[in-house]
Amino acid sequence: MRTKIGVAAIMAVLAALLLPAAASAATIGEVAGSLEEKTSELNMTWVAVATVLVFLMQAGFMFLEIGFSRQKNAGTGVAKVLVNLAIVTIAWWAIGYGVAEGGGNDFFGDTGFFFHFGQSVAGEAVTGESAMLMLFGLAFCAVSLAIVWGTTLERIKFGAYVIYAAVFGAIIYPLVAHAVWGGGLLSDIGGKPVMDFAGSSVVHLTGAVGAFAALLLLGARKGKYDANGNPRVIPGHSMPLVGLGVIILWIGWFGFNGGSTFETAGNFFGEVMLNTQLAAAAGVIGASIAVYVKSKSLDVGMAGNGAIAGLVGITAPSGFVEYWAAPIIGLIAGLLVVFAVLAIDKLLDDPVGALSAHGLAGIWGTLSVGIFGSARLVSEGAAPGVWYSIFGSESFSASIGQLAVQGLAVLFTFVVVFAISIATFAIIKATIGLRVDDAEEEAGLDISSHGMYGYPEQFIPQPEYSTGLPSTMGTGAGVPAAAPAQMTATESSR
């Protein structure tokens, strides 16, 4: 709504200003038309920037997951992200985009398959603008898929990625995206739309539910639980890589949420990005406090999980809530993630905390729109949050109704994604198998699935450099004549 009013106002003013000139040079219609073109170009320039940021999140997932894995499973994380991104791209282009955005009925779209020029998608001709938006949608689908594999590290067969990625990109994610964003079932429930600005449920909960289905059929890593069923710690090998992954994801999220405005009108993306930052910061604080209270240590990984949880939490409400609500949403997500990780760890082996950081925080984020949604910002037909009916004058029944609609999005996402995912993984398990054998798992997926170590020097002896230093360097500089062959780290740094 904001856009159309904004654009119309600008066009009216400009048209009035240009009227005398227009009479001689161009008609009002021509000016308005060219203004509309320029507006689209400016909007898509912003979406292009956002798309690049969202694709950068693939690197974030890569480093986060590799850091939380052991050294013997480092290279496989790289191969996984590259292959998944490739397959989901083709699946989205051929089928997924049409299912998600191709008009159609309440459940799936029926145009836009094998996206190409000259085609009509949901009644509109394919243009550069629709290509840009289609690519932006793909970046989201790829993020959702990347979340799935967080629970499956260090033991899944590579073939499972290939098959599930195709199903996910063509069917699973597009069905959810169509329901909420493509004019499907959840875009109008008794007049109220589900409000999920950038995808707390559509993207993050979807990924986490897929992760849950995979984990149920895959089981825990060897050695994760002792004979009595108590969880044991399997530390990831690099906290610096985890940190790099978290920061890359955090930065990418500005495109994820900010780009979901699809436009530059009113500089509204600025509001969305500030909300995003406030929630991420509060997520770090919430998780750090919670883990410190629980274990008397400021856990590195949990601080990272807190950032992600805060970001996932604010993803749905980022365009619907006021600034004061964003840190509350992020803080609760951060607190939630720590207790959820510790509770889930007793039963399910989720090495990166995907079920908590993306699943529970995704549910919380989706529901939080029904609590904090501001009358100034909510979608047309939607009711403001419960907060405003308790502490303000909004209708209580309407806001409870909106909260229920938000809950319905959670339920729908869970049921649809879980049903198709568990079926897909069951078929994979029954045919090619879902899990590597014990020996392969012990040796690590790097050498057993990919034929090379992620860190070869860790396992393969390397030759020394020559027989020592060149003779010109062995004399003088106060180095004892006998020293070069026994050089130590201290000496060589002189």
């Binding site: 856990d299 905390g353 062995g474 004399t475 026994q486």
Partner: protein
């Protein structure tokens, strides 16, 4: 000939090496070792759970010397490796039957001798 194996703290190595070099014993090896003794393991905290690592990182220093030099080397190690706290490590002395310099094939105690300066600069 005697082989002296010393399990020491990492920080003790550099002063020991410096003094042994000054006293004419440049030949030694170190290995990164993990071991347990009277010192307790390390409790790590990871993602809100605890993990006890029962072995600690130490250095294993190996020096082979003529019998007459054994006491001197052991004293040097003791001098620098001892802090008085649990975890200082242990020294073992073992008999060595033979020593061969690979480059020349010569054997016997003389291969433990320090090189002359001209030889050592390569």
């Amino acid at each position: 000939m005697k082989k002296i194996e010393a399990f020491i703290r990492h920080e003790a190595f550099e002063p020991i090496r410096t003094e042994l070099l000054e006293k004419g014993f440049p030949s030694l090896s170190i290995l990164e070792a993990k071991g347990s003794g009277r010192q307790k393991g390390i409790v790590e905290r990871y993602r809100g759970s605890t993990l006890t690592v029962n072995v600690r990182p130490k250095l294993k220093l190996e020096v082979v010397v003529e019998d007459k030099d054994q006491a001197l080397v052991v004293e040097t190690i003791l001098k620098h490796a001892r802090t008085g706290e649990v975890g200082d490590g242990k020294i073992f002395v073992l008999p060595v039957e033979e020593a061969v310099r690979i480059r020349t094939g010569e054997g016997g105690e003389e291969v433990l001798q320090v090189h002359s300066d001209e030889e050592a600069t390569v």
